[in-house]
Subunit: 360 residues, 2 copies
Amino acid sequence: PSVDKGVDFANYFCTYAFLFHQKEMLSDRVRMDAYYNSIFQNQIHFRNKTVLDVGTGSGILAIWCAQAGAQKVYAVEATKMTEHARELVKSNGVEDIVEVIEGSMEEVTLPEKVDIIISEWMGYFLLRESMFDSVICARDRWLKPNGAMYPSHARMWIAPIRSGLGDQKMDEYESSMNDWFGFLEETEAHYGVNMNVLTKSFREEQKKYYLQTSLWNSLHPHQVIGTPAIIKEIDCLNATVSEILSVKAQFSSTITTDKTRVSGFAGWFDVHFRGSRDNPATQEVELTTAPSTDNPTHWGQQVFLFHPQLRVNEGDALGASFSMNRSKENHRLMEVEFACELRHPSGKCLPAVTSKFYIE
Amino acid sequence: PSVDKGVDFANYFCTYAFLFHQKEMLSDRVRMDAYYNSIFQNQIHFRNKTVLDVGTGSGILAIWCAQAGAQKVYAVEATKMTEHARELVKSNGVEDIVEVIEGSMEEVTLPEKVDIIISEWMGYFLLRESMFDSVICARDRWLKPNGAMYPSHARMWIAPIRSGLGDQKMDEYESSMNDWFGFLEETEAHYGVNMNVLTKSFREEQKKYYLQTSLWNSLHPHQVIGTPAIIKEIDCLNATVSEILSVKAQFSSTITTDKTRVSGFAGWFDVHFRGSRDNPATQEVELTTAPSTDNPTHWGQQVFLFHPQLRVNEGDALGASFSMNRSKENHRLMEVEFACELRHPSGKCLPAVTSKFYIE
Ligand SMILES: Nc1ncnc2c1ncn2[C@@H]1O[C@H](CSCC[C@H](N)C(=O)O)[C@@H](O)[C@H]1O
Ligand SMILES: Nc1ncnc2c1ncn2[C@@H]1O[C@H](CSCC[C@H](N)C(=O)O)[C@@H](O)[C@H]1O
């Protein structure tokens, strides 16, 4: 499906044009440390190399690559943030090495192929924003045959969780519906128009908003009540767009907490910096966005809440199938479906429940 | 300047496609009473007439016109809200009279000219959203020579106010800048990149966000500390787009509260339903969005804060020039400039201060 560039800018790129937003990413210590270490602990692999930074934003990764000894860094960015990136590059004395190019990755032309592609392309739950498409496009056009991807690998994780958000969102939904019924009465009484026929549609709209939209949350590890499962592994050097258009997986999780309720699932990701076959990382770096008290990230986790919640005990097994597809209206947003069944250790099985969610 | 339709939908129309948002407007009693009374207190002018409702949304105004005896009502709406409007029209038994047409007003074709155009086109501070353009377009194409506009007149008001928001926004701005300086130090210390060169741009961005963006507020009448002034009058029957593209006015206000501070200006609007020359309203109806404890509206007031605030006494005179233009990036948003000077009754005059604002 063809993407209207203006619409994509209005919906997506616009936020990245603010320094405030770039600063949020630059203030994420876990994110920053991972990229910093991946570069400086593997400095020999950057020395005298040509690098492409896909979506350079403020220019931070490009500057680091230059500082690590790269010969040339092409720093491509779609928004006006390029102006600030250029200022930063200059004031940090790497203007002879870093070339900031304004344009969308899909459309710019580089004078040469590169040894390394570096990019921070990960959205909520890894694939939201669909920016990895642009990295794949860059790789296929501009990476030398034995080039390296930074990061080199990515994984998506799912685990059952407990959370007060389940009750909270249900309360909000119910109070919104109560409000609606009051509204119906008033509109009929004062203004002679009966709006009852809209109740079904209003309910669907509010359900989607309160109950079926995944939520950003920074979970405490204790809220994870079952074994996490990997639902997708991506080799950044070989992945194709068709492989990430849709993510489907069967997974199971064993409940590790006794006498609790499954409020739903949380999804997160990690990426690894392993260098390439020819130039494997001296020091492998991991960036994980798993629930953590010490090292939370701005990505947090995406929470998918079930209604009603399920009572579980330690040792119960959750079997689920997961499927994620891009939203038809906006290719950078996702729609997720879970079908989930609970098996007691006795073998007793609860009927499967399915839930649909929107990652907005 | 040509408007990209997809972008306009992403930025503007999308919100109106939600019942939740339509409900907010339908729950505004002041707004509802004004339109309801303008129709039912002038019912004879609607009887057997043909009506066009520009931007029918849920269809409420069209249904009222039908109930008031209109022969035919064309109800045009750009969003999928048409589906709900059709349901409502049908369940209220006026499907033989109201014809719901999905499309943008600029593009639809009606089978005939109409006697009356009704529309609820007013945005924050009247002109935000620029929807009156579409009403003008509809009028020039579809209103019969002696037809009537509902509403028939509109006015914009400005008055000096006091508000705690002045200090609050300044605090937020300052704490954001403090945060920035901490960020600069950390980024240099931990990551070897000096970002000082971005301070000026970051400051501008934050100033724009915290200090130069007008705010929605529902003011208490006591917060109005000087005489309000009318800065624009619109005759809906004769106004042209070029007359509303830009609003310029000189106005003055006498301070009516002693020993206080002017935090800035508030802007609001009113509209009147006077019918037409041939069919003047039996009962003239006013819809005002002025500060009010009993009759607040969802439009509230737009607040423009000055930094620093000005100390004033009863009897001081504020002289100001006002100018509002559409934003280049988005024709539905506005940029406002004030130049303002304070004259004491003694004749002493403070130098003029100018401030620029964005209505987002
Ligand atoms: N197709 C594309 N072409 C160019 N830039 C893109 C792009 N898709 C996303 N971007 C940009 O990529 C950036 C991702 S955010 C990461 C910014 C920076 N590399 C950092 O690590 O801090 C955003 O600034 C966004 O505008
Ligand atoms: N050019 C245009 N063509 C068609 N509909 C338009 C339009 N500009 C705005 N609208 C629609 O006009 C509506 C304005 S809100 C008012 C809705 C309704 N008349 C009521 O009074 O409750 C929105 O639903 C918006 O989608």
